[in-house]
């Protein structure tokens, strides 16, 4: 009898995930969204607060109903890797990490290729807005931890918004804040099949889609935009879509970014008022 190892039961069955009885899968219908309170063109309410992490030079926490992420900014600090050649401009490095519990399927501890690429994209989205030329030979590090993700597109756009607020809170000189927003195209009516040419509804643009809606999306777009300088710092579109829908969704996202800009403005003024009362 092997006493060292406790043998498991011969027959083991995967745990049954019981969905609540009234769990009705959302199917895309015209003008109706997964959470019925929202119209297709409006965003989820954003809760944004600075000063979450004491240690960091600047930090921000953002919540869009079920998407929650925290961002810490450290710097400007000396460039650690000596191998770098002399650089007259500051070096911005961003790192996005999904907490292992943040998605339906557990993500592993190591950064997988998707997180590496999202970090690269975030660096490209933020760097046009930061005055890196005033910080020679130094580096700014932005760390984002996604606590709960309800839709990857909305999660990434929230990361852009939170990072830019954290940078402003850290007192780093910036040309403008960067607002991020995402949208998905979902085929609600019968798809227009080219062969039969049957007239039908083109895919509809759902702003800030959540996890459930993303499963039915035909394509998605994420836009990072500097509202007052009127400049797009990053655009990421995937999936098949007509040219007309793309330009329509770019306009929608630009309007949404202006709204988000107001929330960021308010959050930063909030932190100014707080400092006033402490002085």
């Amino acid at each position: 009898m092997d006493r060292k190892r406790v043998a498991g039961p011969e027959l083991s069955v995967a745990p049954l995930i019981e969905y609540p009885v009234d769990h009705k899968r959302w199917t895309p219908q015209q003008e109706k969204r997964h959470d019925s309170k929202r119209q297709p063109e409006d965003m989820r309410p954003i809760y944004l607060k600075t000063g979450l992490i004491g240690q960091a030079s600047g930090s921000a926490y953002i919540e869009l109903e079920k998407t929650k992420l925290a961002c810490g900014v450290y710097g400007p600090k000396p460039v650690k890797r000596i191998g770098q050649t002399f650089s007259g401009r500051g070096l911005l490095t961003c790192e996005i990490k999904f907490a292992t519990f943040s998605c339906a399927k557990r993500r592993n501890q190591m950064r997988d290729p998707q997180e590496k690429e999202l970090s690269q994209i975030l660096t490209q989205a933020l760097s046009p807005a930061i005055r890196l030329d005033l910080l020679p030979k130094s580096a700014i590090e932005v760390y984002i931890t996604v606590l709960e993700s309800d839709g990857l597109g909305s999660c990434f756009s929230a990361a852009i918004t939170a990072a830019s607020v954290a940078l402003a809170h850290a007192g780093i000189e910036m040309l403008d804040l960067v607002a991020g927003c995402s949208a998905s195209y979902i085929q609600t009516g019968p798809a227009r099949s080219i062969s039969s040419g049957a007239e039908s509804i083109p895919p509809q643009i759902f702003m800030d889609a959540d996890l459930e809606e993303e499963k039915y999306e035909q394509g998605s777009i994420v836009l990072a935009y500097m509202p007052s300088l009127n400049e797009v710092t990053h655009v990421l579109q995937s999936g098949k879509a007509e040219g007309s829908i793309i330009s329509q969704s770019v306009e929608h996202c630009v309007e949404a970014c202006n709204k988000i800009y107001a929330v960021m403005h308010h959050a930063l003024l909030e932190s100014v008022k707080e400092n006033q009362t402490q002085l």
Binding site: G75, I82, A129, G171, D176, S228, H265, S271, N275
Partner: protein, 190 residues
């Protein structure tokens, strides 16, 4: 207390380039003035004929980085015949979160008789030195100089462990054992 009304956010338009001059915390782009930091908008009128300058007094100061001509306070880490390498801790009175690397070359220690300088008679590891940044240097460290009178060692510990007090521009005395050690001292600020 200035009202929160004129607190500004980066990217906020402050005015026309013709009306104001861009001060600290602001920048000018295509005939408009924008704020570049979070803070309170201040308009300071220097002399009457010029335009007033617009500055934004920043909320929490960004941790400082050494700039050219900045007065820095640093701690001597290593000394060798050609230069003393130091950790820059404070820049223009503002502490920086992580220490920057700097070196004081032997020819930048003092202004007179540059070639006769003995580095071990100027700095010892552990001294606190006030210096001025003369160049961004190379990828690794900034170049500093202690040539001016008010630059040099401001605090040091003697061999016996007592703290050193400057008695001349190149001698310091240990408070405990009264032994005189040679340093390039800073003229005490009045």
């Amino acid at each position: 207390m200035t009202s929160v009304a004129d607190a500004v956010v980066p990217g906020q338009r402050l005015g026309h380039v013709q009306e104001y001059i861009a001060g600290a915390g602001t920048y000018a782009l295509q005939d408009f003035l924008y704020a570049s930091v979070v803070g309170l908008k201040q308009i300071s009128r220097t002399s009457d004929n010029e335009l007033p300058t617009m500055t934004v007094q920043r909320e929490n100061s960004q941790s400082a980085i050494p700039e050219i001509e900045a007065i820095v306070t640093c701690k001597v880490v290593r000394v060798n015949p050609r230069f003393a390498s130091v950790n820059i801790m404070v820049v223009d009175g503002k502490p920086c979160k992580d220490d920057f690397q700097g070196i004081i070359r032997v020819q930048d220690v003092r202004a007179t008789e540059k070639d006769k300088v003995k580095i071990y008679n100027s700095f010892r590891p552990g001294d606190i030195v006030r210096a001025q940044v003369i160049s961004l240097g190379d990828a690794r460290s900034y170049y500093l100089s202690t040539a001016a009178n008010e630059l040099g060692v401001i605090f040091g510990t003697s061999v016996a462990g007592g703290s050193l007090v400057p008695i001349s521009w190149q001698e310091m005395q240990c408070t405990k054992t009264k032994v005189i050690e040679l340093r390039k001292c800073a003229k005490p600020m009045q």
